[in-house]
């Protein structure tokens, strides 16, 4: 999914800067709708935050471009895995150094990872079951309590970026067990970065703008091109105007419709399936609603939804989600497994359920639009689809914070949501099975209620062979597709960029890597 280098052929760079200092100053301006709470890796876990952290902090391992199938070296130049698959031993790259010139040591790695675990921020769960130690200055050992094929993918997450521990401690950081209450470094990390990434933090405003300056002594193989990067919080409606008029070089939040006729000349657009899977679930608890807990009623919904009409809503570049796992991850189902609408089958299932026509509520976050797809529009379309098969749907849109409460309490009759991967591994989607974070708590699909799928979930966790994993995760999703969780679509991630911008790829974890743009 390389997105640029296919525009109008302008050879001049896309900078808006002026010359200065000893060489040319190049400024890159990127527009995004901010979802940003912190520049402190231990507290950062939002999409914009991941862009920021990726630019400021290096991790033990990483992904190159958009390829999530293979981790590649970052601070660790090499690593080995023990025979039992539970211990990872990393050797640090001796060239790795922080932006202030001090070398990155194994003590910095241990401190940073333990701090993430103990500070109890949003990304702390990435460290669940992991212990870190440093037998010597250049070796780091990560031990997992269980066999977990996702460990390397988790370690590539920018939230597990490595801090200069001496500076961080001086600023109030601690990796002690009580770090949740004693760590006071976040404000300092919001004004000064302490990492070894391609850029350093010049200034941060969580609601308006983040400014980066080049890490002139960046030790990595790919040196950053821009001397300055400005990441601005810009309303989606204005992002298109800004790229078209040259006020910015990259827009991240446009819908396929907005860029329909734009490619060519000075700008280039591309739409690819995003990281998000929109899904719908029917509550399995009959006390919440007797119909949604009925398997025939569940089938009536599954076959009553017109998936093509949802794709029309989501625009070009979106795809029907054959299963919950997005197409970019190993284990995704092929398109041939997609559910297709079958009105007659839906009506037959509805009749078998004994449905009496009483209204069932679909609740959804009415204030949320993701990748140009409004939940309200999607819910309205599903309501119309289901009316055609005889299901009386009542829409209950509410602000996301309100609906989240309902969902987490397992009180939604039918929930319409999206899911983005917490880490780039299919195991993240076991959350949807019986007893999982979503399947158990939101759907009320209790453990023990579906032995077939639960056996597959257990097998998926134990399987380490790559090909076998793909097969077992696909089988898991085929079973999931018979249950109360129904995957709908992957909307399109649209990029609109100056045609001269090179190196732009879409990575599911951090969206774009500013250090790779040139």
């Amino acid at each position: 999914m390389v997105l640029a280098a296919c525009g109008g052929g302008s050879e001049e760079n896309s900078s808006s800067g002026t010359s200065g200092g000893g060489g040319a100053s190049k400024t890159l301006v990127v527009d995004a709708v901010f979802s940003l709470k912190s520049a402190d890796p231990a507290h950062n876990y939002e999409p914009t935050g991941q862009i920021v952290a990726r630019a400021l902090y290096s991790t033990l391992v990483t992904f190159a471009g958009d390829d999530l199938t293979k981790v590649v070296p970052d601070l660790a130049s090499s690593w080995t895995t023990s025979e039992d698959g539970k211990t990872y031993t990393f050797t640090l790259n001796p060239a790795a150094k922080f932006s202030d010139g001090t070398p990155v040591t194994s003590a910095d790695v241990v401190f940073s990872l333990n701090r993430v675990a103990n500070v109890k921020g949003n990304p702390s769960f990435l460290m669940d079951g992991l212990t870190v130690s440093a037998p010597d200055a250049t070796t780091v050992v990560v031990e997992s309590a269980t066999v977990d094929s996702a460990v390397l993918g988790k370690l590539a997450n920018p939230s597990l970026g490595i801090l200069n521990s001496a500076k961080a401690k001086a600023a109030g950081a601690t990796d002690a067990a009580d770090a949740a209450t004693t760590d006071t470094a976040e404000q300092a990390l919001n004004s000064e970065s302490m990492g070894s990434g391609p850029y350093t933090l010049a200034s941060l405003d969580l609601t308006t703008e983040v400014d980066f300056e080049i890490n002139a002594d960046y030790w990595g193989a790919t040196k950053p091109t821009y001397t300055k990067v400005v990441l601005r919080n810009v309303d989606a409606a204005q992002q298109k105007n800004n790229v078209v008029t040259g006020q910015s070089q990259l827009a991240l939040d446009l819908s396929p419709d907005q860029v329909k006729d734009l490619s060519g000349g000075e700008v280039v657009s591309n739409s690819v399936p995003s990281q998000y899977t929109f899904y719908l679930f029917t509550n399995a608890n009959p006390e919440i609603n007797q119909w949604t807990a009925n398997r025939d009623f569940e089938d009536a919904i599954r076959y009553g939804i017109d998936y093509q009409s949802l794709l029309e809503l989501a625009g070009e570049g979106s795809r029907q989600a054959a299963g919950m796992i997005p197409v970019q991850l190993a284990g995704a189902l092929p398109d041939s497994d997609s559910i297709t609408r079958d009105v007659e089958k839906a009506k037959a299932s509805l009749a078998a359920s004994g449905y009496d026509g009483s209204p069932v509520q679909v609740s959804y976050p009415s204030d949320l639009t993701q990748n140009g797809v409004s939940f309200t529009d999607m819910a309205t379309r599903i309501q119309a689809n289901l009316k055609e098969v005889g299901i009386n749907v009542e829409l209950q849109g509410a602000p996301i914070t309100t609906v989240l409460d309902l969902a987490r309490g397992g009180k939604q009759q039918i929930g319409l949501w999206l899911w983005g991967p917490d880490f780039p591994d299919a195991s993240n989607y076991l959350a949807f099975g019986p007893g999982g974070v979503v399947g158990g708590k939101r759907v009320n699909w209790q453990p023990g209620s579906d032995p077939t799928i639960e056996a597959l979930m257990a097998k998926a966790l134990e399987t380490t062979d790559a090909d076998e994993r793909v097969a077992v995760y696909q089988d898991y999703q085929r079973e999931l597709n018979k249950g109360p969780v129904m995957s709908l679509i992957q909307p399109a991630q649209v990029f609109l960029a100056a045609s001269s911008l090179k190196g732009l790829t879409y990575n599911l974890v951090w969206t774009v890597n500013l250090g790779e743009l040139s």
Partner: protein, 337 residues
């Protein structure tokens, strides 16, 4: 005059305390859990993480105690800590307020200049073509939705004509001037930083005019009506009969008494300007309190929402006080009454 101002100030303090109470109750009545809003889908499942969050922001205390603690801190000038930025709310507001004040002041200046001029012209040319045109324009000003006007202005003046930038307060990457007032336009002027001043001026025009559109319409209509009312008085006919030049009649004998309702409407307009900044700042990416308030509301960041509510309440109280004082200066009978 001193006792007049004193009475108003005491009333203002009581009003702010009342608003803090109402804002506290309302923000806590909103369905939704601040912890759920702040923590991610995984973090919320960890009881230790949730407990740490609640303890940090005092959400584990009973509601009445939370309010008393808040009030106690408020008296000491402490507005609490934002759950979103994790900074003191007072510091956040101090950072964002100057940008909003700059935008609102620019809008009010534009509104007064344009609104007064159009209102006077409409009154003078009553029931003629110019009057009809101005009335249609002022009706448009008060009825066109701000977000639509903002987007339309961006397409015309930024995309089609390329005259004005549509995002931010300065060109990307440009350094801010030395902080004196916090207002970029003013600070760049005070420090003689002409390049920055030019960029700031370019950036403020479109959001300020869009923000002012509603107020221009309102002031135009009030000025016209007020002028026409005064123009109908006997003493105006007497002034004209004495042979005074029309300009003297208009500006000396008509405008001053006509100003009282205009001052009222300008004071009230500040309210619509402050609420209008939420939309305008979001569309034009203006780094002010409107964006902060909007994001805080979405994130159920109660201390920030409370802080912004109280600051806006204080601004209202102060503006109303100034309006009252101006009344009494223009018409001393009000003070005596």
């Amino acid at each position: 005059m001193v006792s007049f101002i004193g009475r108003r100030l005491v009333a203002g303090v009581l009003l702010v305390v009342g608003i803090s109470f109402v804002a506290f109750i309302l923000t806590n009545l909103v369905p939704g859990d601040p912890a759920a809003a702040a923590l991610g889908q995984r973090a919320i499942e960890d009881p230790a993480t949730v407990a740490a969050f609640r303890a940090k922001y005092g959400l584990d205390e009973p509601l009445w105690r939370q309010y008393l603690i808040y009030l106690g801190n408020l008296v000491q000038g402490d507005l609490g800590t934002s759950q979103q930025t994790r900074r003191p709310v007072g510091a956040d507001i101090a950072k964002f307020l100057p940008a909003t004040a700059e935008l609102a002041l620019a809008a009010i200046v534009i509104s007064l200049v344009v609104g007064l001029a159009l209102g006077i012209v409409a009154a003078v040319y009553r029931d003629r073509f110019l009057d009809s045109l101005i009335r249609v324009l002022s009706l448009g000003g008060v009825s066109v939705p701000t977000f639509w006007l903002a987007l339309a202005a961006s397409v015309v003046f930024s995309v089609k004509l390329g005259w004005l930038p549509s995002t931010g307060q300065l060109d990307p990457g440009m350094d801010r001037p030395t902080d004196i007032t916090g207002m970029v336009l003013v600070d760049s002027l005070l420090t003689g930083n002409w390049e920055t001043f030019g960029s700031a001026l370019e950036h403020i025009i479109m959001p300020a005019v869009v923000l002012a559109a509603y107020t221009i319409g309102m002031i135009t209509r009030f000025t016209r009506a007020s002028m026409l009312e005064v123009l109908g008085n006997d003493y105006i006919r007497a002034a004209r009969a004495k042979g005074l030049p029309e300009r003297t009649v208009l500006f000396r004998h008509v405008l001053r008494p006509a100003l009282v309702p205009i001052i009222t409407v300008t004071g009230l307009a500040l309210g619509s300007l402050l609420s209008g900044t939420v939309l305008v700042e979001n569309i034009f990416s203006w780094p002010g309190m409107g964006q902060y308030a909007y994001k805080s509301s979405l994130a159920l960041d109660l201390p920030a929402v409370m802080g912004v509510s109280i600051v806006i309440a204080v601004i209202y109280v102060v503006v109303n006080l100034v309006v009252d004082i101006l009344y009494s200066v223009i018409d001393p009978r009000i003070r005596q009454g």
